[in-house]
C-alpha cells in the first residue's frame, strides 16, 4: 500500500473547494427555499385556520340572525293572531250590540204598533157598538151625539186592560 502525500493534499483541497462551491450553489439556496416553503405552508395553514374561524363566526352570526328573524316572524304571527282575535271579538260585540239595538227598536216599534192597533180597534169597536146600539134603539144618532158617545165610551173602556 503506497500512501501518496501529493494525492492526499490534492484531495484535501478538492474537498474544501467542493464544500465551498456546493455550500454556495446548493445548500444555501435550497435550504433557504425549503425554509421559505415551510413558512409558506405554515402561513397557508394559518390562513386556512383563520378563514375557518371567520366562516364559523359568520355562520354563528347568520344563525343568530336567522333565529332572531324566526322569533320576529313568530311574534308578528302572534300579534296578527291576537289582533285578529280582538277584531273578531270586537265585530261580534258590535254585532251583538247592533242586534240588541235592532231587537229593542223592533220591540218598541211593535209595542207602538200594537198600541196603535189597539186604539184603532177600540175606536172601531166603539163605533160599531154605537151603530149597533142605534139600530137597537131604532133611531139614528146624530153625528155630534155619536162622537160624544164614542168619546164617553172610549174614556170608559180605555181604562180597562185589553
Amino acid at each position: 500500500m503506497d500512501f501518496n502525500i501529493k494525492l492526499m493534499a490534492w484531495s484535501f483541497v478538492n474537498f474544501l473547494a467542493l464544500l465551498y462551491i456546493l455550500n454556495k450553489l446548493l445548500y444555501k439556496p435550497m435550504l433557504q427555499m425549503l425554509d421559505d416553503r415551510k413558512r409558506t405552508i405554515a402561513e397557508s395553514f394559518q390562513q386556512a385556520e383563520s378563514a375557518r374561524q371567520e366562516a364559523d363566526r359568520i355562520k354563528g352570526q347568520y344563525q343568530g340572525q336567522l333565529a332572531e328573524a324566526k322569533k320576529e316572524a313568530q311574534e308578528i304571527i302572534e300579534r296578527a293572531t291576537k289582533m285578529g282575535e280582538e277584531m273578531r271579538e270586537d265585530i261580534v260585540k258590535n254585532a251583538k250590540v247592533e242586534a240588541d239595538r235592532a231587537i229593542k227598536q223592533a220591540h218598541t216599534e211593535i209595542t207602538r204598533e200594537k198600541n196603535q192597533a189597539v186604539a184603532a180597534l177600540r175606536q172601531e169597536v166603539a163605533t160599531l157598538a154605537v151603530l149597533a146600539a142605534g139600530k137597537v134603539v131604532g133611531k139614528s144618532i146624530s153625528v155630534q151625539d155619536h162622537e160624544k158617545m164614542v168619546k164617553e165610551f172610549v174614556d170608559e173602556v180605555g181604562d180597562l186592560p185589553c
Binding site: K6, S11, A17, L18, L22, Y27, M30, L34
Partner: protein, 235 residues
C-alpha cells in the same frame, strides 16, 4: 496501490499511475458532476418541486432532518454543509465506479481504466478522514474554548493516553473502512471481469450499489457523531 504500479509498468504507463493522478482526474469528474447537478437542481427553483429539484431536495431535506435529529436544530445549521458534502462526494465517488467506462482495480484490469473511484484510494479517504479529524477538534475548540481539552482527561486524568489513542484511531478507522470497502469491491469486480466478462460481475456490481450508499452514509454518520460529541454542551 496493490499491483497498480506493476500494472502501470506492464502497460508501459507510469505517467499517471505513479502518483495516482487517475484518482484525482476522477475526483474532479465527480466534483464537476456534483456541481452540475447542483446548478441544474437550483436553477429556476420552484416552491412545488419537480424532476431533478425534487430528487436533490429529497436528499438534502432527508439528510438535514436526519442530522437535525442527532445535532439539534442549532448545530445542524452550522455543520450541515460539511457533512452533506462528505455524503455527496463519497456517494458520487463510490457510484462512479459502477459506470462501465470507469476502470477497476485488479490483477489484470488495474491499468486499463484512467478513471477509478477516488474513494478506492487510501490517500483520498485519508484526506477526508483528516478533514473530519480537524473539523471535529476545531469545532470543539470553537464551542468550548480551551475547556475542550478537559474531555481528554475524563473520566480520570490517567485515561489521557487512551483518549489520545481513540482520537487517532477514529480518523484511521474512517479512512481504512471507506477505502477498504470500495477498493475491495473494485478489486472483486475487476478480478471477476478478468475471468468472466459477462453476467458474473453483475451481482457484485449490484452489491456495490448497496455498499456505495452504506459507506457514504456510515462515513457521514460517524463524522456527525464525532462532531456532535465534540460540540456537545454537557457541563
Amino acid at each position: 496501490m496493490f499491483g497498480s504500479a506493476e500494472a502501470a509498468q506492464a502497460h508501459g504507463g507510469g505517467l499517471i499511475s505513479d502518483w495516482g493522478g487517475m484518482y484525482l482526474t476522477t475526483a474532479w469528474g465527480v466534483m464537476a458532476l456534483l456541481v452540475l447537478i447542483a446548478v441544474l437542481a437550483t436553477r429556476n427553483m420552484q416552491k412545488v418541486p419537480s424532476g431533478l429539484q425534487n430528487v436533490v431536495e429529497f436528499l438534502i431535506e432527508g439528510m438535514y432532518n436526519f442530522l437535525e435529529g442527532m445535532l439539534g436544530p442549532e448545530r445542524v445549521k452550522k455543520y450541515f454543509p460539511l457533512l452533506m458534502t462528505f455524503f455527496l462526494f463519497i456517494l458520487a465517488s463510490n457510484y462512479i465506479g459502477l459506470l462501465p467506462w470507469v476502470g477497476h482495480e485488479g490483477p489484470e484490469a488495474g491499468g486499463i481504466g484512467k478513471y477509478i473511484p477516488p474513494t478506492a484510494n487510501l490517500s483520498v479517504t485519508a484526506a477526508l478522514a483528516i478533514i473530519v479529524f480537524m473539523s471535529n477538534h476545531i469545532f470543539g475548540l470553537l464551542t468550548h474554548g480551551l475547556g475542550y481539552f478537559k474531555h481528554f482527561f475524563s473520566p480520570m486524568w490517567w485515561m489521557l493516553p487512551l483518549n489520545l489513542i481513540e482520537e487517532v484511531v477514529r480518523p484511521v478507522s474512517l479512512a481504512m473502512r471507506l477505502y477498504g470497502n470500495i477498493f475491495g469491491h473494485e478489486l472483486v469486480v475487476g478480478s471477476l471481469l478478468a475471468m468472466v466478462p459477462y453476467f458474473v460481475p453483475v451481482p457484485i456490481q449490484l452489491l456495490g450499489v448497496l455498499t456505495g450508499a452504506i459507506q457514504a452514509f456510515v462515513f457521514t454518520l460517524l463524522a456527525t457523531t464525532y462532531i456532535a460529541g465534540a460540540t456537545e454542551k454537557h457541563h
